[in-house]
């Protein structure tokens, strides 16, 4: 009996410690989803149910928002033109995060800073140069021969490993901006409310199925390659097509936006008083399904970058 238990425990440990590829070591196959990452949709002015408790909230202007997250290819193109324009540069970037200094080599540029209120746990974000993307493991862009280029397999995956400064700079460069939380949520869930006054919890409707979105242990194509934690999927992946035998459900938001739940968290543009945090929406391939509900958010300092955080832009009409 004792031997059997020891053997079982050893087998479990061996199973757990077995090869589990990190998401930076294997390149997935390139998959064309057919969704154009350069497309935008207009969100018309009007009320919509905001937050978990469906507070009817008015957005009194029309605005446009990207149909997909910004892709690796789009971001590489931005880096090339912005570098040529002298808006960004390559170097060592130092961020003072409270009492800790974080140094990263990568690409960055100037940010004019945030108002500082000196509230509890608030860190000042002064005017200065900040890191956009680090030259670090997980970055899906190469810098060779003076030019940036996407790693082929990830061309149409969402841009990740990008700080809030980097996401903001991308949108600003083209005269756009990051969406606010309210704008993002309206684009994600639409205006529809049911008989009880509740808005939809997921962009596509009331329930979530693993084939709706890329989240933790959703058994998507990439989880077979990378294990349960998975990896990003190409933007617009969940559009009803079947890829290499993996069937997806068409899961756009009421306005036709893709990846508004799962895949990567998306940086928001809001800078709230008394705090330095920037907020994210949507959940990621690391998230449990509860964090894919449209009202859930996440937050981090604007210097934070991660393989599970990306962004999309909005613009005024």
């Amino acid at each position: 009996m004792k031997r059997a238990i020891v053997a079982l425990a050893a087998a479990l440990l061996l199973t757990a410690c077995g090869p589990a590829p990190s998401i930076s070591t294997i390149d997935p196959p390139y998959i064309d989803t057919g969704i154009d990452p350069d497309s935008w949709v207009t969100i018309p002015a009007g009320e919509f149910p905001y937050g978990q408790h469906d507070a009817m909230t008015l957005v009194d202007y029309d605005y446009e928002i990207m149909v997909t997250d910004v892709t690796v290819a789009q971001y590489a193109a931005f880096l090339n033109t912005a570098l040529a324009d002298g808006d960004i540069y390559i170097g060592e970037f130092e961020a003072q995060i409270g009492e800790v200094v974080q140094n990263d080599e990568g690409v960055g540029g100037f940010y004019p800073g945030d108002p500082f209120d000196g509230y509890d746990h608030e860190f000042p974000i002064d005017a200065g140069d900040y890191l956009y993307v680090p030259f670090a493991e997980g970055l899906r862009i190469r810098y060779e021969g003076g030019a940036f280029s996407p790693i082929e397999a990830y061309t149409n995956h969402p841009m990740t490993m990008v700080s809030w400064f980097g996401a903001n700079a991308y949108c600003q460069y083209y005269g756009w901006r990051l969406p606010t939380e309210i704008e993002w949520e309206k684009a994600a869930r639409g205006t529809e409310v049911d008989a009880n006054g509740h808005g939809r919890p997921y962009p596509w409707g009331e329930e979530i199925h693993p084939n709706n979105a890329n989240y933790y242990s959703s058994f998507d194509l990439f989880e077979k390659m990378f294990g349960k934690l998975g990896n990003t999927t190409p933007v617009g992946f969940y559009n009803g097509k079947t890829y290499e035998g993996y069937e997806t459900l068409d899961s756009p938001s009421p306005y036709g936006l893709y990846d508004m739940a799962g895949n990567v968290w998306q940086w928001m543009g809001d800078d709230y008083p008394d705090q330095h945090y920037r907020y994210m929406r949507g959940g990621s391939f690391y998230s449990y399904e509860v964090d894919l509900r449209v009202w859930k958010n996440n937050s981090a300092g604007p210097w934070y970058y991660s393989p599970q955080v990306g962004f999309r832009c909005a613009r005024d009409q």
């Binding site: 425990a9 479990l12 440990l13 199973t15 757990a16 410690c17 589990a20 590829p21 990190s22 998401i23 930076s24 978990q52 408790h53 469906d54 995060i97 409270g98 009492e99 800790v100 509230y119 509890d120 746990h121 608030e122 860190f123 670090a136 493991e137 997980g138 509740h198 919890p201 997921y202 009331e206 329930e207 979530i208 242990s217 990378f226 294990g227 349960k228 934690l229 709230y272 008394d274 705090q275 945090y277 994210m280 690391y286 998230s287 399904e289 509860v290 964090d291 509900r293 958010n297 996440n298 937050s299 981090a300 300092g301 934070y304 991660s306 393989p307 599970q308």
Partner: protein
């Protein structure tokens, strides 16, 4: 019919039977509701449970459901602790009966209607009955507080008593229980008042979702204070209970009990003053030091006692003989060990978080900070549950190999799970996101394996107890008769004491 009546009496009129019902209830909730999260979701078990039982899991109502689930389990745990207290501390038989009856009806009402409201459609009659159940539990708390009144003459200790007492003979252990009970009632009121206001149109939230909100509402702060102090008070109660179980006494007891009583007051005041004082945390830390020192004294006493008992008859025991004696009985070693282990997985993590909040935890994304927070208090709750299982195993007459397997499985497997959960929650200290997968896979597996083994041990124990109930002369019968005898004896003593009192009054009046 007689057989049924006897079993009914055992299950609902004896401490061991009532505890068995409550543990079985929590085990059943754990078995069913445990399938709604974690690996059970990945394996598709949740969908089966939902379909089979007809649950309605509306995504927007998840936070409310979780709050209901916490309350149902918490009420059952409170009931178990109350059963232990009414059996361990001297009180009148009618007090014991009325307290136990009230809390039993209360927690069962909470469990049945709380879960029905949360998971099977929002029928507001069920919500009303859920609140009624909570009110009954509160009322039982009032009765308990009255029964524990430490200034009663009959509960005073003689001057040479080895237990902590004042010059007037007031039992300081009873005082610590009393203070804990009063603090619990006050803290429950904080939750009840705020909760009722929430029910009138305010919004449900989970505290861990609000940690980075710079300006929290007063009612939100009240809820945060309430949930923290309630778990702390449950932990204090179980520490006092195991002290009684191990017959904690002597010099350490005399130091520990005032510390425990005073610490309970300070920590409660600190947790509740979160509502209006920005420096409330300092008060909480001060209170925690007193409470934890008292717990440390219990650990020293109980381990010393186990060593002395285990090496009795050996003239000069070696180090290894002492260790062997300490580890001889996992059920009695377990509570002290889990309290020590708690420092690594709960207190240590909490202190580290407080000290390094701005340097580390607030630099992480909110989701990571949230995992650490929820992780460490889930572990505390589970540690308390294991201590309850040790005590219940002991009073259920587990003996020999069964006792050792049951005890060691709970200790080793729960600690494996809790250590893994702690590593998981603090993983960002050791590994970055891009390379975390092997570590996450390993600790998740160990966590699930450890918890599964604890649940298997509990399931086997419960099945054995269920089987025993079908035996005409099972352990249940012996336990029941034993308690009946003890109760009758206590009642007789009480009546005799009362008789003496009445005689004295008559004599006094006649004179």
């Amino acid at each position: 019919m007689k057989a049924l009546k006897q079993r009914w009496n055992y299950l609902f009129c004896s401490t061991r039977g009532l505890t068995l019902v409550a543990i079985a209830t929590v085990a059943l909730i754990t078995a069913i509701w445990g399938t709604l999260s974690g690996p059970m979701v990945e394996w598709g078990v949740r969908d089966i449970t939902v379909k089979l039982l007809g649950m309605k899991l509306v995504p927007a109502e998840r936070e409310g459901r979780i709050i209901l689930l916490y309350h149902t389990i918490a009420m059952a745990i409170l009931a178990i602790e109350v059963y232990f207290i009414t059996s361990l501390l001297p009180m009148k038989r009618h007090e014991q009966v009325s307290i136990n009856a009230t809390i039993t009806i209360g927690y069962l009402t909470v469990v049945i209607f709380g879960l029905a409201f949360g998971y099977f459609g929002r029928n507001f009659v069920f919500h009303g009955l859920f609140l009624l159940g909570l009110s009954l539990v509160f009322f039982a708390g009032l009765l308990l507080t009255a029964a524990l009144w430490p200034w009663k003459k009959e509960y005073r200790l003689p001057p040479d008593s080895p237990y902590a007492h004042t010059k007037n003979g007031i039992d300081l252990e009873r005082m610590a229980f009393f203070v804990m009970a009063v603090s619990t009632l006050i803290s429950a009121s904080f939750g009840a008042i705020t909760g009722s206001y929430w029910g009138n149109g305010h919004e449900t939230f989970l505290a861990e979702d609000l940690i980075r909100v710079p300006h929290k509402l007063v009612l939100q702060k009240a809820i945060i204070g309430h949930l923290h102090i309630m778990l702390t008070l449950i932990a204090i109660a179980i520490t006092l209970i195991v002290g009684r179980w191990m017959d904690f006494k002597g010099i350490l007891h005399r130091i520990a009990m005032p510390l425990m009583g005073f610490g309970t007051v300070v920590i409660t005041a600190g947790a509740l003053s979160v509502v209006w004082l920005p420096w409330a945390h300092i008060t909480i830390y001060v209170g925690s030091v007193f409470v934890m020192l008292a717990a440390l004294m219990y650990v020293i006493f109980s381990w010393d006692k186990l060593i002395k008992e285990g090496t009795a008859g050996i003239q000069k025991p070696t180090f290894f003989q002492k260790i062997g004696a300490l580890l001889r009985d996992p059920l009695k070693f377990g509570p002290g060990w889990q309290m020590v282990f708690m420092n690594f997985t709960v207190s240590g993590v909490g202190i580290f978080m407080a000290v390094k909040l701005d340097e580390i935890f607030r630099v992480w994304p909110h989701r990571e900070e949230r995992i650490t927070l929820t992780g460490h208090w889930h572990i505390l709750a589970a540690l308390i549950a294991t201590i309850i299982l040790f005590y219940y195993g002991d009073i259920s007459r587990l003996k020999g190999k069964a006792r050792k397997w049951y005890g060691w499985t709970i200790i080793i497997m729960s600690d494996l799970a809790f250590a893994s959960a702690t590593i998981f929650s603090m993983k960002r200290l050791f590994v970055d996101e891009i390379n975390q997968q092997p570590l996450v896979n390993t600790v998740m597996l160990l966590m699930d394996f450890g918890l599964a083994m604890v649940l298997v041990a509990l399931a086997i124990f419960m099945i054995w107890r269920l089987y025993d109930l079908f035996r005409a002369n099972g352990f249940w019968r012996q336990e029941y008769l034993e308690e009946e005898k003890a109760a009758a004896k206590a009642e007789l003593e009480e009546q005799q004491r009362k008789l003496e009192e009445l005689k004295a009054i008559i004599e006094e009046v006649s004179e």
